[in-house]
């Protein structure tokens, strides 16, 4: 008898105590966090420079252990950043393919794949292979036309497929590792980094508020390369060749339009001239068409002759003495710039300056060099500038396979990272354009250490790098061979600097300049240390919650829960009297249990409390009393049937159990579905809902029951708030 009573006390007080003990670290941790924040503020304001040290001495250890065992708050409550990233498989494929083999067919496949994969959740590579079979194969291409598998003989399409799949899988795992290191080095407390599906990475970064910096940190590929600069006549000639190609193709397009118009003309004529004399009209029309064609031929001839003329003159002019070889002699002065622009679509986007042997500008009045065609280009070194607007157009043109093929495949045109000049109104910026050898002399894989600092001379931010043994030897070799030449330091296809090698550099140190700010230098230091990504990643989802909103949400959540709880307590006490109070106590223990289960002490890794999660707990308050209401209503019913209180209680609990089990199972199922299919905050809701259902069953049937039994045992009849008339 006594032991029964003892165990009943245990079932009531046990969960209560356990809840308080388990939740204590959570309370301590958030309390100390506030204190730490205050200490930090004092230290920053200079009021108390030792504040942080004092805090560390007093609470450091407690704070850290408490933090490990507290309930994690979701980003919506704590503030922070959520980022979902995806490996850019299209870029990876393009980079894996041998550069010189990429043609229009390959581009078409990539484009089709991109469009299709963006719209579906199918595996990117599967879509690529399907599109390849559909588009490229009928044109006689196979995967081995574009891809090579190094170190494997008798390459087949199957082997290429396996390799590409390995590449993609390897890229995501490597990206995960690199990003983890970057976040680690950047110093985010309690980050969560995980892989989602086969090619996504999800990051939760509590407390992170500077999204711009974070985005840069995460999406930088950080591919560091040292490339030889080749700003010589070769590339300038190629640019003029592109001009010529573009001019020719636009002329062709024009002439097609002309013929089309002529044809249309003739058809219209043929149509409109009714039945009267069709044959005559048709004859007329074709005659007209003939005339047009003749005119075109004429024009073409004229074009040709001017060309021949100018070459004759040009071949004698070795330097850029352009005036003497003006192919636009017959063109009106006012139209000349327009004609020149039409014929030089690419080079007019740029400003090209030749340099003399000493590296000085050769330029009349600081004007850029203007030539008519390739053969006029003098064999010198050059400097190329491009405005940001011009660069956009330039990039667009150069991304066309037919155009980029004109540039020798071992050369590459890259933009400088930092603008060379910013126009006075700040609207346009000018960048330098560098031509480099596509094959890097050295890559960042040899970098062992990086350190951001500032140049003592210019006070500009700079990142110093150290290389390992192998890298140092290579670097010494490269610099030794290229004295007085320029080597571009390229990061993610942007040239940070292109210093002239003064002498052989031994010891493997080098430096990057050209950053905008010390912050950028610091980010660079981090990404260089963490290493480069094998494949570029892009951010597909980004959420940020500022700290003030989070605090506001917590405050509102607490107020709403408080009021909701109060209303429920009031109702239950009024309606069910003593039993109602029992139910209220059970609900309180219930909430305590839900929160306890959310801690890492109970669930491995701990659950995350989100704002919808708080709503879930509030809702559980409402639902938990449902279980009690069911039991109590049943007890009242049995009482009204004339049963004794004892029998009614037994019957009430027994009969209500089935209904409660069934209804809660269905709720639990929806919670499960939500948890599996939802993300972030919604998962938080599903979690509290599911835990709430379990604790509700426990508190309604075990805790409430124990309380009622204890009251019964003490000899006092429990009041279920039933009307007096029907009681007993």
């Amino acid at each position: 008898m006594n032991s029964k009573k003892f165990w009943r006390y245990v079932t009531i007080i046990g969960p209560l105590l356990a809840g308080i003990i388990i939740l204590w670290p959570t309370y301590t941790a958030y309390d100390l966090e506030r204190e730490e924040q205050e200490a930090q503020n004092r230290a920053i304001n200079g009021k108390d420079s030792t504040a942080l040290a004092t805090f560390e001495n007093l609470h450091g250890e407690t704070y850290r252990t408490a933090k490990l065992n507290r309930i994690k708050l979701g980003l919506d409550l704590r503030g922070g950043m959520y980022v979902m990233m995806e490996v850019a498989v299209d870029t990876l494929l393009r980079e894996t393919a041998a550069r010189e083999t990429i043609d229009e067919i390959f581009d078409e496949v990539i484009k089709a794949t991109h469009n299709e994969a963006e719209a579906s959740s199918a595996d990117y590579l599967d879509v690529f292979f399907a599109n390849f079979d559909r588009i490229a194969r009928p044109k006689g291409k196979s995967l081995i036309s574009y891809f090579d598998v190094p170190g494997v003989q008798d390459v087949t399409d199957e082997k290429v497929k396996t390799k590409l799949r390995d590449d993609v899988n390897g890229a995501i795992d490597q990206a995960l590792e690199v990003i983890r290191q970057r976040i680690d080095k950047f110093g985010v407390s309690e980050p969560s980094i995980s892989k989602q599906g086969s090619r996504r990475i999800v990051l939760e970064l509590p407390g992170v508020n500077n999204e711009k910096e974070m985005r840069q940190l995460l999406s930088t590929t950080a591919r560091l390369e040292f490339k030889l600069v080749r700003n010589n006549a070769d590339i300038i000639k190629a640019l003029y060749r592109i001009d010529e190609y573009l001019a020719r193709s636009s002329k062709k397009a024009n002439s097609t339009v002309d013929t089309a118009i002529a044809l249309a003309d003739s058809t219209i004529k043929a149509d409109s001239s009714a039945k009267v004399d069709t044959a005559k009209n048709i004859a007329n029309a074709s005659a007209k068409k003939g005339k047009k064609v003749a005119k075109l031929a004429d024009a073409a001839k004229k074009g040709d002759t001017t060309k021949v003329d100018s070459t004759k003159v040009d071949s004698t002019a070795k330097t850029a003495a352009a005036d003497s070889a003006d192919p636009y002699k017959k063109v009106k002065d006012a139209d000349k710039p327009k004609r020149y622009q039409q014929d030089h679509q690419l080079t007019t986007l740029l400003q090209i300056f030749p340099l003399d042997q000493e590296g000085r500008f050769i330029s009349k009045n600081g004007e850029p060099m203007l030539l008519y065609k390739e053969s006029q280009v003098p064999d010198l070194e050059y400097v190329i500038y491009v405005t940001s607007k011009g660069y956009a157009k330039f990039k667009e043109l150069m991304s066309r396979t037919d155009i980029s093929r004109i540039v020798p495949s071992d050369l590459q045109l890259l933009r400088s990272a930092k603008p060379f000049n910013v126009s006075k109104d700040g609207r346009d910026t000018t960048y330098a354009l560098w031509c480099v050898l596509a094959a890097p002399q050295l890559t960042g894989e040899y970098i062992t250490d990086a350190r951001a600092s500032s140049d003592p001379m210019s006070n500009q931010p700079v990142v110093m790098m150290e290389m390992d043994q192998e890298g140092s030897e290579k670097w010494a070799d490269i610099t030794g061979k290229n004295i007085k030449k320029k080597i571009a330091i390229v990061l993610d296809d942007q040239v940070y600097s292109a210093p002239v090698v003064q002498n052989k550099i031994a010891g493997g140190s080098s430096q990057i300049t050209g950053m905008d700010s010390p912050e950028e230098a610091r980010l660079l230091e981090i990404v260089l240390k963490a290493g480069a990504l094998k494949a570029p990643v892009k951010i597909v989802e980004e959420r940020l919650v500022g700290p003030s909103l989070g605090e506001d949400s917590i405050r509102r959540g607490l107020i709403a829960s408080g009021i909701a709880f109060f209303l429920v307590i009031l109702f239950m006490t009024m309606y069910y009297s003593t039993a109602g109070i029992v139910a209220n106590l059970a609900v309180m223990i219930n909430v305590l249990l839900i929160l306890s289960i959310m801690t890492p002490v109970v669930i491995a890794g701990g659950g995350t409390l989100t704002l919808p999660g708080i709503a879930g707990i509030i809702l559980t308050i409402g639902m938990a009393v449902d279980a009690n209401i069911l039991v109590f209503e049943r007890v009242r019913e049995e009482l009204s049937k004339g049963r004794t209180l004892r029998a009614a209680i037994d019957e009430g609990f027994r009969r209500a159990l089935n209904a409660i089990l069934d209804s809660n199972t269905t709720s639990f199922m929806t919670g499960m579905i939500l948890f599996l299919l939802g993300t972030g905050p919604v998962q938080g809701f599903a979690l509290t809902l599911m835990i709430g259902i379990l604790t509700t069953l426990f508190t309604a049937f075990v805790v409430s029951r124990a309380m009622i039994e204890l009251m019964m045992a003490s000899g006092k009849p429990v009041n279920f708030g039933q009307p007096i008339a029907t009681a007993q």
Binding site: S121, E542, L544, R556, D626, L630, D662
Partner: protein, 318 residues
């Protein structure tokens, strides 16, 4: 205290009227989203949403002007919680680079003397949006299906079907009301992830009532052998009425608190649940039970007014 004592209301005699009423609401639920248009949150449509706070309350049109100057087409500006907080939403098609900084800069430029604070930001790629949308739809359908099967297994097939029909009814009626309220602009009701969570909770919770009534029918069938189905159902509904009303009352109390005090983020969520749960209680009486009766009558051609004893009834599987 007692609201109902020994009620004996003939709920089911007026079932035809209520069923028609529900059918009308359901049709609205199906048609309204197409006619009035559902407002998808950026979770599902993709795009960017930036909540900012200014030091003073400014006219929304001035903010719109600032955003327009930044060349972000199709931006929507709404208030967000407090008067000096604004929510700016930009469709995914209007930008190539994350627009949050542009927005903050543009507003700072327009109100140079004030401090602009970014409260929160969500940027979702169109593909992710579509994935989330599909997942949400799967979740709702799966939930209704799973619950139907569970009830069919715990009770009888017909009852499971009745429960599933009632759930579908609740979802559609809630959808109708949400669409209409959203159109009226009384409350901010965008279909987003937490809204789907609300719908699913409605599904889970509204089946509670159905289960309680079905459970009582199952029990009463044993006790009152010989009673016809309609009387049996009426009896069971009357017996559980007190519980249904009290439970709904406590949940409504809680949800009303959330609607009024939960803040911008929880308001729509709580409102949807409020509508859904009240609907759920109603549908347990008039849809789930009425469907079972209708099915027995029209499909199985059993005589409802007849005594039960004559028929072989499957004993409850408990």
């Amino acid at each position: 205290m007692q609201f109902f004592s020994k009620t004996n209301i003939d709920f089911l005699s007026k079932r035809t009227m209520f069923v028609w009423f529900s059918i009308v609401l359901n049709i609205i639920g199906i048609v309204a989203p197409f006619v009035l248009g559902l407002r998808f949150g950026i979770d599902f449509s993709g795009g960017s949403e930036i909540a900012i706070q200014l030091s003073k309350t400014e006219n929304v049109s001035l903010i719109r002007e600032a955003i327009d100057k930044a060349n972000l087409d199709g931006a929507e500006i709404k208030s967000f919680g407090a008067a000096n907080q604004y929510l700016i939403r930009i469709p995914a098609t209007s930008y190539t680079k994350d627009p949050s900084q542009t927005v903050v800069d543009a507003i700072q430029k327009a109100f140079p003397s004030e401090t602009v604070v970014m409260l929160k930001k969500d940027s979702i790629g169109p593909k992710v949006g579509e994935e989330l949308r599909n997942k949400a739809l799967i979740a709702v359908v799966l939930a209704i299906f799973a619950i139907g099967i569970y009830i069919a297994f715990r009770f009888e097939f017909l009852y499971g079907l009745g429960a599933a029909v009632a759930l579908l009814h609740d979802v559609l009626v809630t959808l109708a009301l949400v669409t209409i309220f959203s159109k009226l602009g009384i409350i901010n009701l965008e279909i987003n992830q937490s809204m789907i969570a609300a719908f699913l909770t409605v599904v889970g919770f509204s089946v509670h009532d159905t289960v309680i009534i079905f459970d009582r029918i199952r029990e009463n069938r044993e006790h009152h052998k010989g009673m016809n189905l309609i009387s049996l159902m009426n009896l069971s509904i009357n017996e559980t009425l007190s519980r249904s009303v009290n439970t709904v009352m406590t949940v409504v109390l809680v949800l009303l608190t959330l609607v009024l005090l939960g803040g911008e983020v929880l308001q729509g969520f709580a409102f949807t649940m409020l509508v859904g749960i009240v609907t759920g209680t109603y549908s347990s009486i008039y849809i789930a039970s009425a469907f079972v009766i209708w099915f027995m009558d029209k499909v199985k051609h059993s005589h409802l007014e007849e005594d039960f004893q004559k028929k072989k009834l499957k004993p409850a599987k408990v």
